[in-house]
Symmetry: C2
């Protein structure tokens, strides 16, 4: 059975060209970039060339790009580091952040290292800016705000300029998990009122196990993983050269075809929204994902008009039909506790209906959407 993969917000397939450069690097450039001899220097050059390209592409300076093992490490390094090195005592975040942000925060709060403040979130998945202003005003001490750029479950895309400006007016540091946007939107990090951001290669057709942090220079942030002098002391550990080179290539390819891919994805999302509503009247789109000015064109989160019994077997049924999608973030797919994002955004009555996230790559087709919709329609009638 041909699988239909509509879970690109969880992870993406890897561009064949990325596999190729990784394979070459694994074979040819096995040196340790910290070694000063010829074999080490070649590896070092690969790493630094990737850093330079990524920085340039994102309007940052090379020394502001720190390679990590992925988004989770980036978020943890920045949040734990802000407390350890920058004297941050108060952190403002939201209940719909990724667990890679929420869990270090609740952990530090439980240890008494920070006071954690949760900004109110509107039903469309945006932070209540008045509440954010109120919180920022009420905290005189050193503070940091962590709000993700694009919500990974419902796709709401916050205005980094508006949020960042507000943070900086109140002398708060601003961190944004940009795992769902870097590679899909052309961010110029250096021009944004951002202190920290985080990206992950496997969300834009690169390898798993690698990502980067943007750390604005002179913030004074230190490392969480301590040891060797790699990454200017911000992240110890031998660099995964093949993964870094693969990430560079994936980002290059993503941005090379960004305009045409964006057009394709917008059309695909529009098509999906209409087709779902037509075939399954009563379908509601969570957050603001019906509006591409407010949400990413890469995903749809749909609340489907199925009764409790049908809801229970829904994902199982789709899986049997070869359709790969998810209830929310993959990181909690295994758990039965449900989505913390939808629990925040929806009323208990709304949340009785099953919600599914369909997330797209530019290679997805209208035929695949047709198949998805026909499977759902048939299930509704079964």
């Amino acid at each position: 059975m041909e699988l239909i993969y509509l879970d690109n917000a969880a992870t993406t397939s890897i561009f064949p060209e990325v596999v190729l450069v990784m394979q070459e690097t694994l074979k040819e450039n096995y040196g340790n970039p910290s070694s000063v001899h010829a074999v080490g220097r070649t590896a070092k050059a690969k790493v630094e060339s990737a850093r330079k390209y990524i920085a340039q592409q994102l309007g940052a300076q090379p020394q502001e790009i720190i390679f990590t093992s992925g988004g989770t490490e980036g978020d943890n390094t920045i949040l734990q580091g802000a407390v350890q090195y920058l004297g941050v005592k108060h952190i403002i975040s939201s209940p719909i952040e990724h667990h890679a942000v929420l869990h270090p925060l609740t952990h530090m709060a439980a240890q008494g290292l920070i006071t954690l403040h949760m900004v109110k979130v509107l039903p469309n998945g945006f932070p209540d800016m008045h509440d954010l202003d109120r919180l920022l005003t009420s905290i005189p001490d050193k503070k940091l705000v962590s709000l993700m750029h694009i919500n990974n479950e419902v796709g709401s895309m916050i205005d980094l300029n508006a949020v960042g400006d507000l943070c900086h007016q109140h002398n708060a540091l601003f961190h944004s998990d940009a795992v769902q946007s870097i590679g899909h939107y052309q961010l110029q990090l250096g021009e944004l009122p951002l202190d920290f951001a985080v990206a992950s290669a496997h969300k834009f057709h690169g390898p798993k196990g690698v990502g980067f942090m943007y750390v604005r220079k002179k913030t004074g942030l230190g490392g969480l993983l301590l040891g060797g002098a790699q990454e200017r002391g911000m992240r110890a550990g031998t660099e995964a050269v093949h993964n870094i080179v693969g990430m560079e290539e994936a980002l290059r390819m993503s941005y090379q075809t960004l305009d045409e891919d964006t057009a394709k994805l917008k059309e695909l999302k529009s098509y999906c929204l209409s087709a779902l509503q037509e075939a399954l009247p009563g379908t509601v789109f969570n957050g603001a994902c019906y509006d591409m000015n407010l949400s990413t064109h890469t995903l749809v989160n749909a609340r489907l008009p199925f009764d409790e019994k049908k809801a229970q077997l829904l994902t199982f049924h789709l899986d049997l039909q070869g359709i790969c999608c998810s209830k929310g973030s993959a990181c909690q797919s295994g758990s039965e506790s449900g989505s913390h994002v939808l629990q925040t955004l929806l009323s208990p009555n709304e949340n009785k209906f099953p919600s599914l996230r369909f997330s797209f790559a530019a290679t997805n087709t209208k035929d695949e959407i047709d198949k998805l919709v026909s499977v759902l329609a048939a299930y509704a009638k079964s």
Copy 2:
């Protein structure tokens, strides 16, 4: 010019078969192991099968093997975690540990989170067991001992049974960085008096950016990188499936030919020791690396009879001749501060002579040693 790579303790070339399985995994198994659909389950199966193999190979249980981004992350997670989760207030270590151990320890000590005790180290690179006993006896509180199995610079190999038994007699937890031994020696972790250990794939012909921790079950250790529920909460972040599968294959291949490789390496090391002493009378071997009962057969750390002027250009000269070796650990190769290991083990007068580490893989040959020795001999006469 044909390069002669004698820096295998810094990193190793990757087995072609490892590149092959990684390449296949990148192409075919791009799923997120946390996704519950078909594509996710296939990736999950790969990860769990690797865990099972590695556990079995090392006499551990699968749930005791936690995948990480490498040795540094493993050391940091264990050391920082012991303080955060296990109530450890005192840590005993040695001044010749890897920076991935020393730096988190000095950082935590500076923050007032722990009292750090340094055991005396004998000139041959072994901890003074009487001093260790004295330290353990003097600390009534919850404590942990961190001593690496094989020293990465001078190769001294501590007796894990003797050290671990002593730790456990004193109710101390015992962690050992086994980055230089796993893949080169057949350890049965479950049978050793060890609570924690750390390995890194790129030291045994696997990929960079992946390793694992051994965490004895029921220790209660928690994660440093928090977020998703991967690795049973011990290490959040999407698993780098291709790297994990590559590590599994590298370990399988290393252990399949372990006996013949060990025989080869012992002969090669003996040959290197004799050839150096013969060609350069006055050469001294640091630590205990002249004795393969006390040190690993994978490396030689030689103190060479060159005057200060010749010493300064020595590594530069070897590099020009295509010989890759290092002054100490790669992680500090770039720095000019010199080896903290040799500063501990040698007197200032001894340390005036240049020391070099030559570290071997089973693919190195006597011809390469001959070339190394002739280049050094010619340099001595130049």
